[in-house]
């Protein structure tokens, strides 16, 4: 089924690339949306049933795939709005490129969740880099070029590091005489792996995947990319693509978590994660570009997620819940960003203000999304973040917990000063005459995303609890 899905996506993407007709374009995009959701539903129903050597729809993959399906609908809808609103600068060619690349990006991410083989994950991540770079470069400006260049270069280096890690992993297996590199086989034969090579492999693979996951040291690529990419694309980059990094790290971590080097791997992850939260705290108090502010908020959440993972216990459950909720909430912010840009024509915080006056529904959504993303109750993230704090406390990382709480307070302060300035403080020298009227209907899907996240966190359906627990069992 995965192969069929990938082939259909590729055909649709080729159709989108070569087609010049507007109507056909939107028909193809709709067909793609239906295809993706059908695939998601199919894998959800047939969870755990694998017909292929390289893909296995286990609970973690299916959960993330479901989240991707949910956000794909608003993202595709807002992409359509985005292209229509930029009519004068769009050509049939650029429109086709946009939707074709978006389809490839989403399909590659979806397949990467289900991948059961590290080399397959690696190839799919290469494809996401390729398609994402096309999308970031959509506007063909010098700054977009710079964002694309940095993204491509850092991703190329990180993918090379992952490759080195895979080579070390093969050395670790060579001694044991295993030649199946699937995650299942690695977990099954963990005791036979050579520890020296395994540790080296984990170090390289982890460092490489941080480019997608958005952790120190490779997080910079994602920030520039989300800043320069069109809003709906940033929404995908900040959620679905970060999840690809998460799932890859999670599966590699699951192998080493069975060995006696579990504690060592936790140390590595904790260092990277707390540094990430620190970097996010520093930049979020300084940054004056609202889109970069959202991007830094994303890496902060990834830092928190990885801390939960390293703390163990209930933290692993919480980190999966956290990443699912984050996948729903963060796109709402990035999709809302386009409305802000339409009102003010700028993303510098100095040009923004008094948003309630110009777009009431959008401003209210910003307020709700702000509370959601900073994990203040009734936000869904509050539940998962609280569990992560609890797990850090239980695993005796008290000092780490205190540092984290201080940093998160700084982050909330930095985020709040900027968002409240946008919402309530009148902008300096802003010409009100040409403010476009924004229909409240354009914010509906974002509200839906946030409501789903809150409902999901406070009243998680039993089936999903089981699925998350199954995903946790990969590690324990």
């Amino acid at each position: 089924m995965v192969y069929l899905f990938l082939v259909c996506s590729a055909l649709l993407a080729i159709g989108l690339f070569i087609n010049k007709n507007r109507l056909v374009n939107y028909v193809l995009v709709s067909v793609y949306g239906i295809l993706l959701v059908t695939f998601g539903v199919y894998e959800f129903v047939n969870q755990g049933i694998s017909h292929s050597l390289f893909f296995k729809p286990d609970s973690l993959g299916v959960l993330l795939l479901s989240a991707l399906c949910i956000i794909s609908i608003p993202v595709l809808f807002h992409s359509y709005r985005y292209i229509e609103l930029h009519k004068e600068s769009e050509t049939p060619h650029s429109r086709g490129m946009y939707f074709g690349a978006l389809a490839i990006l989403m399909s590659a991410s979806g397949a990467a969740y289900l991948s059961n083989h590290i080399a397959v994950t690696w190839i799919l991540i290469e494809i996401t880099t390729l398609s994402a770079s096309l999308l970031i470069y959509h506007h063909r400006s010098v700054k977009a070029l710079e964002g694309t260049w940095k993204y491509v270069f850092i991703c190329a280096i990180s993918i090379t590091l992952v490759y080195v890690g895979i080579l070390f992993l093969s050395l670790a297996m060579k001694q044991a005489g295993i030649d199946d590199m699937s995650y299942d086989s690695l977990i099954k034969n963990y005791s036979l792996l050579n520890p020296f090579w395994l540790k080296l492999a984990f170090l390289f693979i982890f460092t490489g995947f941080t480019a997608k996951l958005g952790l120190v040291p490779m997080y910079t690529a994602g920030i520039d990319a989300k800043d320069k990419a069109p809003g709906p694309v940033s929404a995908i980059l900040a959620s679905a693509l970060m999840n690809v990094g998460f799932v890859s790290v999670y599966r590699t971590y699951a192998v080493i978590a069975h060995t006696p080097y579990h504690g060592w791997a936790n140390g590595v992850i904790i260092i990277a994660a707390i540094l990430t939260v620190f970097v996010a705290a520093v930049y979020m108090t300084r940054v004056k570009n609202i889109k970069r502010l959202f991007a830094y908020s994303g890496i902060e959440h990834m830092g928190v997620v990885m801390l939960g993972l390293a703390a163990g216990g209930i933290g692993i459950y919480a980190s999966i819940l956290h990443i699912l909720l984050h996948t729903l909430i963060k796109p709402a912010l990035f999709l809302q960003y386009n409305q802000i840009y339409r009102v003010y024509g700028s993303k510098s915080i100095y040009d923004l203000g008094n948003y309630f006056k110009y777009n009431k529904t959008g401003a209210l959504l910003m307020l709700v999304a702000f509370f959601s993303v900073t994990a203040m109750p009734p936000s869904g993230l509050f539940v998962s973040e609280f569990m992560i704090f609890q797990s850090l406390f239980e695993s005796h990382h008290i000092i780490l917990l205190i540092i984290l709480l201080v940093l998160l307070t700084v982050i909330i302060w930095g985020f709040a000063t900027n968002v409240f300035r946008l919402l309530f403080i009148p902008p300096v020298s802003f010409d009100e005459t040409n403010v476009p009227k924004i229909s409240p209907w354009e914010s509906v899907l974002q509200y839906v995303l946030i409501i789903i996240s809150i409902y999901f966190a406070y009243n998680t359906p039993g089936r999903f609890i089981n699925m998350i627990e199954q995903a946790v069992r990969i590690i324990n």
Binding site: K143, L145, T148, F153, I157, L167, K174, D179, N194, F196
Partner: protein, 209 residues
Amino acid sequence: MTDILLITLAMTLLYMSIANRLQTYLNILVFQGFLLFGATYLTLTEVKTANLLFIMLETIVFKAIAVPWFIGYIIKKNKITRVAEPYVSNFASLMVVTLIILVTIVLSGSIKDINLDKTFFVVALSTLFTGLYLIVSRKKIITHVIGYIVVENGVFVLSLAVGNEMPVLVNLGVMLDIFASVLILGVFFNKIGDVLNDPDVNVLRNLKD
């Protein structure tokens, strides 16, 4: 014989660290491509002939001919100044690269794995880290690309070490080569002339907080 080729490869790194002109870098890249071509032929003795031919074709075409030629073409087309413009002095660079090689040799001493030829490990890692060092110590974007290709050469050496048992991984490395060449050189530099009228590619440093 393989050892001689690999050690020559490590020596080119020292030369690269003190090279001043971009043309010298390209010549070294071509030379490294031929060294890898030889090393591939000598190492991968147990790989199927068709696969071996494919891998060797890739090393000679991509590593030794196409990529260096294309970079040279870009340098000419964009009228990039032909000096490398390092941030640090040549002497310091030479010391750093020497240190990298020494550290990898010391590190290799701690490996107790009889399955691995240590020469591969030392040369691969020192090439990898020298490439990363070239990226951070040189100013121009084009030298970053050259540094990245050095990194790839190092990784390719490492993949040769496991190539006989797992030829799939070498093919994966070949894919990485092609992927990076297409992405970095193709997408980026074909467009750069259209968007940027500036002759040098140093203008891409505005995106920050």
